[in-house]
Structures are given as C-alpha cells and as structure tokens.
C-alpha cells in the first residue's frame, strides 16, 4: 500500500461497555482521490475519522495518514491534515475573519502571511461580505464554509470532512461540493468525506466505502458498486387502472417483473434497452400511461443488497432516486 494518502489495516475501536464502533476496517485512499465513506448514523464513520485524525486512539490495528502512523506520529499527521468535523466547531463570539486568523496563528503560519491567507480563503468560500460579522449570526451553510476555510489554512495534503453538508440547503450543499471537487482536482488534495447522503457520495466521490455496524460492506467506484447490484428497472402507471394487465404484458417483453408500489415494474434484461423502445411499444398498443420512469440502481440499492435494509436516516434517498432516473410524462 505504498504511496497511499490514507491507509488502514484491521482498524478496531471499542468503547467501554459498548459495541465495536469500528470493527476491522481496511482501506486505502490514493493521493488526490475523493473517498466517500457512506453509512447510516452510528455506523462508525465519525469514529473512523477521529482515529485517522489522531483524536482517538484505535483499540487495535494500524492506520497511516500522509505516510505517518496515527498513533506514533501524531504531530506529523496533524501537520499534514485539515479537518472539518461533524459539528462546525466555531466560537459564536468571534467573527469569521478572527477565526481564520486565529487558526493561522495556531498553525504557526508566519504573521506576514496570515492576513493574505485569511482573506484568500474567506474569498474562496464566499464569505467576504460576512467576514467581519460574528459567527453567531451565520447560517448553517456559512458556518460549514468557514469551517472548511479553517481546515485549509495550512494547505493540508489530506482533508477530512465529517458529514460536511448535513442540515444544509441545496444551494449551500452544491457550493460546498464544488469547492471540495475543486480542491481535489486543482490542488490535488486527498479528501476523506463521510456522509449519510447517497447523492453526495455519488456526485463527489471517486470511490465509495459503505460502512455498517463498524464494518466496510462494499467498496469501489459508485458506478461499479451499482453495476454489481443489477440492471435498471422500468416502472409504468397506466392512466386507466383497468389497463394494468395489458401494461404488464407489454413491459414483460423488456424484462422480468419486479415489485412496484404504484404501478407495473420490470427489471430490464439488458442495460442497452432504451426507454424510447418502451414508449414506442406502449404507443403501438395505444396504451396511455400517467407516468413512465426508468430507475437506475442507486447506492441505496447497493446498501440494501449488502445489508438487507435501506440506508437509515437518509432523507436524500428519494432525491437521489429522482436524480438518477429519467421520467417521461405520457402524453
């Protein structure tokens, strides 16, 4: 595993009188890669981040970050990493600019650089207008962006983001995603991102590790993981409920029936099937449909396949499904 930015082997963390929060994790993240660590609340994501950032010692196993052992070379690890932990840890009584400057001085940046670096980062995260306001007046998105700016003060090579967009509105989330993607693309920063949002992992991560009950249950690129669990499905809702049987017969030409809560659904036999073919077949039979959708497999399907249950606590599951599907409203 030489040359990896983050590597862990058989990493375990047990808490007193509790279950194993982290239960034998192995992972490797290449330099410049965005690694999405996806799992429900309590899966062990944050505990893993705390171990990798030296805030918590592992019970057993080893981990190296930026080439340094997290247990024996803590100062070297901390010098190489930036972290924005789950709650934006900010002082409500200080301004945004004061936060970044304080962080710059604690990171031992030369005093001549601090102002320039603070201004540059504040501008980069879009907080120039609010920089001299106290943080207690900031929105959740602004706090997250400030948190990110502080994590970047000392130009870390590895960045840990623990659920960076939880509770943010769509606009703030998108802005943060763009900045994280830019950091990896342009600055070659390795990003270890924990999330419970399927869409976030799908959009941002080069590779995803799915964690459940402290264990990694699946790991790979989002496309490869989704390909593992199966082919897309087509779901149709006839305009006239009396046409359900006819619709089922038509769709059966393209795939095998599968469960649908609202209409008729089939799992396509071939990835090559075009939704237009289905539309044409329905049109030839003069069957009107209220709604026709192509569902691509999602990371939630991957989670379901690997754990036997849906990703708990993910309000975004439905949004992600919608983002991955092509909907055609029947005429």
């Amino acid at each position: 595993m030489d040359g990896l930015a983050i590597e862990a082997a058989e990493l375990v963390r047990e808490f007193k009188d509790g279950p194993r929060a982290v239960d034998g994790i192995d992972l490797g993240v290449a330099p410049g890669e965005i690694y999405g660590f996806l799992g429900p609340n309590g899966a062990g994501k944050s505990t893993t981040v705390h171990i990798l950032t030296t805030l918590l010692p592992p019970t057993s196993g080893t981990a190296r970050v930026a080439g340094h052992d997290v247990v024996h070379e803590g100062p070297q690890v901390r010098a190489a990493i930036g972290a924005a932990l789950q709650e934006a840890a900010l002082d409500p009584l200080l301004t945004g600019r004061e936060h970044v400057r304080l962080q710059a001085s604690l990171q031992a940046l030369p005093s001549s650089e601090r102002k320039v670096r603070a201004d540059e980062l504040i501008a980069r995260v879009g907080l120039s207008d609010a920089a001299d306001r106290k943080v207690r007046g900031y929105s959740g998105g602004m706090k997250r962006r400030l948190d990110l700016a502080m994590a970047l003060v000392h130009r870390p090579s590895v960045l840990f983001l623990d659920e960076p967009t939880t509770g943010l509105d769509v606009q703030s989330r998108t802005a943060l995603w763009e900045e994280v993607a830019r950091l990896a693309r342009e600055d070659r920063v390795t990003v270890f991102l924990t999330t419970q949002y399927l869409e976030e992992a799908d959009v941002l991560a080069d590779r995803v590790g799915i964690i459940d009950h402290g264990k990694i249950v699946a790991q790979g690129t989002p496309a490869a993981l989704k390909a593992e669990v199966g082919r897309p499905t087509v779901e149709a809702i006839p305009s006239d409920p009396a046409d359900r049987e006819r619709a089922a017969a038509i769709l059966a030409r393209f795939g095998d029936p599968c469960a649908s809560t609202k209409g008729i659904a089939v799992r396509l036999r071939s990835d090559e099937t075009d939704l237009a073919e289905v539309v044409r077949a329905l049109d030839v039979e003069d069957l009107k449909v209220e709604n026709l959708q192509l569902h691509q497999p999602t990371l939630d399907d991957v989670f379901l396949a690997k754990t036997g249950r849906s990703l708990e606590g993910s309000d975004q599951a439905e949004e992600e499904r919608e983002a991955g599907e092509v909907a055609v409203e029947a005429a």
Partner: protein
C-alpha cells in the same frame, strides 16, 4: 515573538475579546463587588468603633473583598468559556493544530489575568475616589496588583480544572455558590480576632480565603505586614500551583491525541 508566545498571546486575546463581547461577564465582576462594598460600608461602619478594629474607615477595611470576589468571577468565566469550547468541539479543533496544550491553558488564563488587572484598577479607583489611601504606598499598589494576578490565576485555573474534568458549563457554575460560602465564612466583614462566635471564628481561621483577604487588607490599611503578606502570597501561590497542576493534568487527558 516565538511560536509558543504568539499562540499564547492569540489565545489570551481571544479570551479577552470573548469576555468583552459578553457584557454580563464584564459588568457583573465590576458591579456586584462594588454594590456589596457600598451596602456593607453603609451597614457595618459601626464596626469601626469596636476596640481593636484596625482602621477608622470601613471602606478601606472592606475594599479587600472585591479583589477576591472578582477572582471568583474569573473562576466562572474561565471555566465556562473552556467548558463551552469542549461542548462545541472547539477544543477538538485546537487539538488538531500543532499547538501545545499548555499554550491553551496559558492563553485562557492570560485572558483571565488581563481582566483581573482591569477589575483591580476599577476597584482601586473607586477606593481612591472615596478617600482610601493605600498605606503601603505606590509599591504596595504594585504588590496589590501582583497579588490580584496570582489569585486570579489560581481561581482561573480552578475553574479551568472543573471545566476540563466535567466538560460542562453548568458544573463549573455550580462551583460559584460553594466558593461564595468560603467568602462569607471568612474575615471579609470583621477581623478574625473580633469574631465572638467560636465556631465562626474557628472556620474563619481555617478558611484560606481569610488570609487572601487579609493580605490585600494589610496593603491597604496597615502597610507592609510580613506575616499577612507571607500567608496571603503563600496560600495564593499554593492554590495557583495545585490548580495549574490539576488543570494541566486534566487538559492532557482531554487533548490525548
């Protein structure tokens, strides 16, 4: 300035800025000790007619109390600020920087000490305005500020220790009444040798706060009193050393990384 010195300075600055931006934390340590001084000076001035009372001015006698009372407020402010840093995760953020734990403690206490100097200046100015003249002169005033700094350091470290042990601002605030009991069971309102109730006199004799008050009092009303100064500085230094050791030990646990 060295990196360490700069970090301590920045953290002390943050501590002062936070205090200044919370008006209650500035006003309470200034206003309440002065109110207590005014009430006691009005209600208890007849004490000065007791045989053996060390001064004819009760204000001069009672002016020592605000210095100790202000230090109690410092305990609360230092402790609750640190507890808030723990609760909000700010301490974890600091733990991820190359900063040494001792810089955090020194910075936090630096802010407390700065505020104690400001408070001391206000208390002394009020005393001077109502006619109190420190018997120990200009050097005595310097000694008085040195002592105020030492006491604030000790009590501030005590508050920091409580915060680091419990991680709870509420737990730190619950210390306040306990410390106030120590204040009221001391010689704050009457010299120990004039306390007639035996149990009260015994408690006042055993109470270290009595000696802290008497150290300040000696500088104001009797001049250079070696015994009072030795006991006061000795006890304040002991409190400061013990509290700093405990706070450092707790901080090491909190910032275990």
């Amino acid at each position: 300035m060295s990196v360490f010195g700069d970090q301590v300075f920045q953290l002390a600055r943050r501590s002062v800025v936070r205090t200044v931006r919370q008006p209650a934390n500035v006003i309470a340590p200034l206003l309440f000790p002065m109110l207590l001084l005014a009430v006691n000076s009005g209600g208890l001035k007849a004490e000065t007619r007791l045989p053996g009372f060390p001064t004819s001015s009760f204000v001069a006698f009672a002016l020592a109390v605000p210095f100790i009372q202000g230090a109690l407020f410092a305990t609360m402010n230092a402790g609750t600020d640190l507890a808030r840093d723990i609760q909000t995760g700010f301490l974890s953020r600091l733990s991820l920087t190359p900063m040494r734990g001792v810089a955090l403690l020194a910075g936090q206490l630096g802010g407390v000490v700065t505020m104690s100097v400001v408070q001391g200046a206000v208390y002394l100015s009020v005393g001077l305005a109502v006619g109190v003249r420190p018997a120990s002169g200009g050097l005595g005033v310097l000694a008085l500020f040195g002592f105020a700094i030492l006491v604030a350091l000790g009590f501030g470290a005590l508050g920091a220790f409580a915060a680091l042990r419990t991680g709870s601002g509420e737990a730190v605030q619950s210390l306040f009444p306990v410390l106030f009991v120590f204040l009221f069971l001391s010689s704050m309102n009457i010299p120990r040798n004039l306390i007639e109730v035996t149990w009260f006199r015994d408690i006042a004799n055993a109470n270290p706060v009595s000696y802290l008050i008497e150290c300040v009092r000696s500088l104001i009303i009797t001049g250079w009193n070696g015994q009072a100064l030795g006991l006061g500085f000795g006890i304040a230094a002991t409190i400061a050393i013990v509290a700093l050791v405990l706070a450092s030990w707790s901080l090491r646990g909190r910032m275990a990384r």
